[in-house]
């Protein structure tokens, strides 16, 4: 797993959901995906409304959602929240470029402005497979789903993330814990550079790190400003050391 950090583990096959209310456009997106990804696609579903799409998500796990923000005049913000709170990655395909900044703040993987050609979609899909340039990430908020509603909290409030089964716990500065519906890997993909993967199961906010020490037996640990102690893997230790020296 030497290349784990630089080239994260990504499934080679993927399940795609297209949410687009114009049938010809939906078919076009479908064709593009087919051309780009070929047999990497294990399933591809097209839905014209968010209601149908949500019903699908309940039943079936997906990896990537290509979402049009303004479906039937519905509030794009609400759609965005519901999309980014899912366990999958979201690429927005929309003509509403004015909403791009906000979409990025909520942690979408990419924003493809309409109209687009196949190559535009290709570079967006590339992001799914490759870690994007850190400075490009603008995620400022995370969204969690609580029952039927969504709650949003700023990323600045987060001390660290901890993997818990298929979920991720976000431990906040005020002691609260929020449950995120994303895997550690997918979360890491959308987090900006202020966060550091210290362990397979932990991501910490660099600004909250008080100290890190090398303990006997090859294990390391990190003490956060609030006193919490987190494990630090050896390989990450060097990485962190280099990062902190800068």
């Amino acid at each position: 797993m030497g290349s784990d950090y630089h080239h994260r583990y990504i499934k080679d096959v993927m399940k795609i959901l297209i949410v687009e209310d114009e049938p010809p456009v939906a078919r076009y997106i479908e064709r593009c995906c087919q051309n780009i990804l070929g047999n990497k696609i294990t399933s591809m579903d097209v839905h014209y409304s968010l209601k149908d799409a949500s019903a699908l998500i309940e039943k079936k796990s997906i990896d990537l959602c290509l979402l049009d923000l303004n479906l039937k005049g519905k509030n794009g913000y609400e759609l965005l929240q519901s999309a980014v709170s899912g366990s999958f990655h979201t690429i927005i395909v929309s003509a509403h470029t004015d909403q791009a900044v906000e979409a990025f703040r909520y942690g979408v993987l990419d924003f493809v402005p309409k109209p687009f050609e196949e190559d535009d979609l290709r570079s967006a899909l590339d992001r799914y497979f490759n870690r994007v340039q850190e400075h490009e990430l603008m995620t400022k908020y995370l969204t969690t789903k609580k029952g039927h509603s969504y709650s949003v909290f700023p990323l600045d409030d987060v001390l660290y993330f901890k993997a818990a089964d298929v979920y991720v716990e976000a431990h906040l500065k005020d002691g609260k814990v929020e449950l995120l519906n994303k895997t550690m890997d997918r979360l890491e993909q959308i987090l900006p550079s202020g966060f550091f993967r210290i362990h397979r199961s932990y991501i910490a906010a660099i600004s909250c790190i008080q100290s890190y020490t090398h303990i006997e037996g090859g294990t390391c640990k990190i003490t956060l400003k609030n006193g919490d102690v987190l494990p630090l893997s050896r390989r990450r230790y060097k990485e962190l050391h280099r990062l902190m020296d800068l």
Partner: protein, 583 residues
């Protein structure tokens, strides 16, 4: 104000006191005009009555201003005056009689000194005279001591409606300086008001037909007419039969001036229920005309009430923060003081110089014109704002249709169709071009023909059909082809319908109906989209009005200012928007 009232009461009592004692003393060294207001009066004819020694102690005492002199026939007036002091031989003393109907002979110490017309026992015999007569007194007649003036008069031709008479004794030089001062004042007023009238009329015609200018101009006109009759009687030898006409017009002009200034206030400050206010003024005027009061008392009462009314209107305007209302308030205050002083002057019969009220008309006019221009400036501002709003609507229209996402989405639709159905792609491009060409043509118009609007709806439905893999049909019922409507209101409603009521690939129908009532036109637009149907059981649909509906409302308001209505809801499972416009 309190001081003014006290002063007023004091002066009134002073005048009355004077009346009782009969200030009948004329000092030859002095400089004054002696009004002979108290007289002995008796009906009947007897030439002995002219004699100074005649005993008139049994006669009734009357006051010149008292209108209750019911007499048809010959009657007599007698009064005594005491002359004192040294005679100035260079000056001549004259007795002046004004407004006494209809014909009379005047005797000084039993000697006839003149006559006006011819006194007669009946209508045929009587010859009415002039309104004003003057009788110079010879020097030997005005020796110091007591003198008796006797007047034998007849009014076979009836009394005048507007009794306004006075008898005065003065040196000619005093009298002429008094008259010239009056005329100076009157001509000043006539000059001021006629200039203002012409100016107001010019501002009305040359400007944006701002009604208060016209009303104020009319006010100035009646004021000029009001002031014009006075010099006429002073300067010309006017026959007494014109008395009623002259003073009647003066009286009516005074009433009209009161009404017009209040109408002006109603219009200038845009009071609601204008017609009711005007109605009240007229009803009040009629009411006062029918009152059993002497005409001058009526005008005084009416004027008082109208001034109060005017202040009420002004206070209301000030309260509503109408621009120019405070200035107008000050202006009306000036004219009120002026009228009040005028009133004092008339009851006191004192020289004009003692009261400076006449110049208050200048600040009055200044304040009123300033107030009008303030209002105009405000209206200009509103007009500019409305123009700006209209421009904004136009821009909004363009933005709404050429808004980037509509364009971008349509372009992507074209890209999508090129691959799978190039012919359809071409049709879509053509529909897009048609729609844009049309929008470009109508965008700057405030109203377009309904036909054009409906064509635009059809084109849009065709275009959206290509985009949504559906077919939308547009049905028009009723004929209103010649109607004009604000641009893109139905287009917007059709667009809304497509967005909210139809699923992808769901074909449908739109119905446009137009019905003409007696005083309104009603347009109905409904669709059979499936998405809204689940809400059709709600009696009052709870929808948040988006940009589209706001645009439609703004357009309707711009075109039909509150003479329109828009309703929406379900009609047998179909979403329906109804627009009613009053005609």
């Amino acid at each position: 104000m309190k001081k003014a009232i006290i002063l007023f009461l004091f002066l009134v009592t002073a005048v009355h006191g004077q009346g009782e004692n009969g200030r009948r003393s004329f000092h030859l060294d002095g400089k004054s005009i002696l009004y002979l207001s108290t007289w002995r009066y008796s009906v009947g004819d007897d030439l002995n009555r002219k004699q100074p020694g005649f005993n008139d102690s049994a006669w009734a005492t009357i006051h010149m201003d008292d209108p209750k002199r019911e007499s048809r026939g010959i009657h007599w007036y007698r009064t005594r005056i005491h002359i004192s002091g040294e005679q100035d031989h260079g000056k001549s003393l004259t007795l002046r009689i004004f407004g006494l109907p209809m014909a009379y002979d005047v005797f000084w110490d039993g000697q006839p000194i003149g006559q006006n017309g011819r006194v007669g026992k009946n209508k045929e015999e009587e010859v009415p005279g002039s309104i004003m007569q003057s009788y110079p007194l010879k020097q030997e007649m005005i020796l110091p001591g007591e003198h008796v003036i006797a007047i034998r008069l007849s009014d076979q031709h009836g009394q005048s409606l507007f009794r306004r008479c006075w008898i005065a004794l003065s040196y000619d030089s005093d009298w002429h300086s008094y008259i010239s001062r009056i005329l100076y004042r009157v001509f000043l007023w006539i000059g001021i008001y006629s200039t203002t009238m012409v100016l107001s009329l010019a501002l009305y015609l040359g400007g944006r037909r701002h009604r208060p200018f016209l009303i104020f101009g009319a006010f100035c006109l009646v004021t000029v007419l009001y002031y014009s009759v006075m010099p006429l009687t002073m300067l010309c030898d006017v026959h007494i039969s014109y008395f009623d006409f002259i003073f009647g017009s003066r009286y009516i002009n005074f009433l009209l001036a009161q009404i017009l200034i209040n109408i002006f206030l109603v219009f200038n400050f845009d009071h609601p229920h204008k017609i009711y206010h005007i109605g009240i003024f007229i009803v009040l005027a009629i009411f006062f005309c029918t009152l059993n009061l002497p005409p001058y008392a009526r005008t005084k009462w009416y004027s008082g009430i109208m001034i109060f009314y005017g202040f009420g209107l002004l206070l209301h305007a000030v309260k509503r923060k109408k621009p120019g209302s405070i200035i107008a308030f000050i202006g009306i205050l000036f004219v009120t003081i002026s009228i009040f002083l005028d009133f004092l002057r008339s009851i006191l019969k004192i020289g004009i110089v003692t009261l400076p009220g006449e110049y208050l008309d200048i600040p009055f006019i200044f304040c009123i014109t300033l107030s009008i221009s303030r209002r105009i400036r405000e209206q200009d501002r509103l007009h500019e704002a409305a123009k700006l709003r209209s421009h904004r609507l136009e821009t909004e229209l363009l933005k709404k249709t050429i808004q980037p996402h509509f364009m971008m989405n349509t372009l992507l639709s074209i890209i999508s169709l090129i691959g799978e159905d190039p012919k359809k792609a071409v049709k879509l491009i053509k529909a897009l071009a048609d729609e844009f060409r049309m929008i470009n043509r109508i965008s700057s118009q405030k109203q377009i023909r309904l036909q054009e609007e409906l064509r635009l709806c059809r084109i849009h439905l065709e275009l959206m059909g290509y985009r949504m893999d559906a077919k939308y049909e547009f049905h028009v019922e009723g004929t209103c082809d010649d109607d004009t409507v604000p641009p893109m209101i139905f287009h917007t409603l059709v667009e809304n319908g497509l967005t909210h009521a139809y699923e992808a690939k769901e074909s449908g129908h739109f119905w446009f109906e137009c019905a003409r009532g007696r005083d309104h036109i009603q347009y109905r637009l409904r669709n059979d989209g499936s998405l809204l149907r689940p809400f059709s059981h709600q009696s009052k649909p709870q929808i948040e009005e988006g940009m589209g509906l706001k645009y439609v409302r703004a357009r309707l308001e711009e075109c039909y200012t509150s003479h329109w209505e828009m309703e929406y809801g379900f009609n047998q499972d179909q979403w329906e928007v109804t627009i009613t416009i009053d005609t």
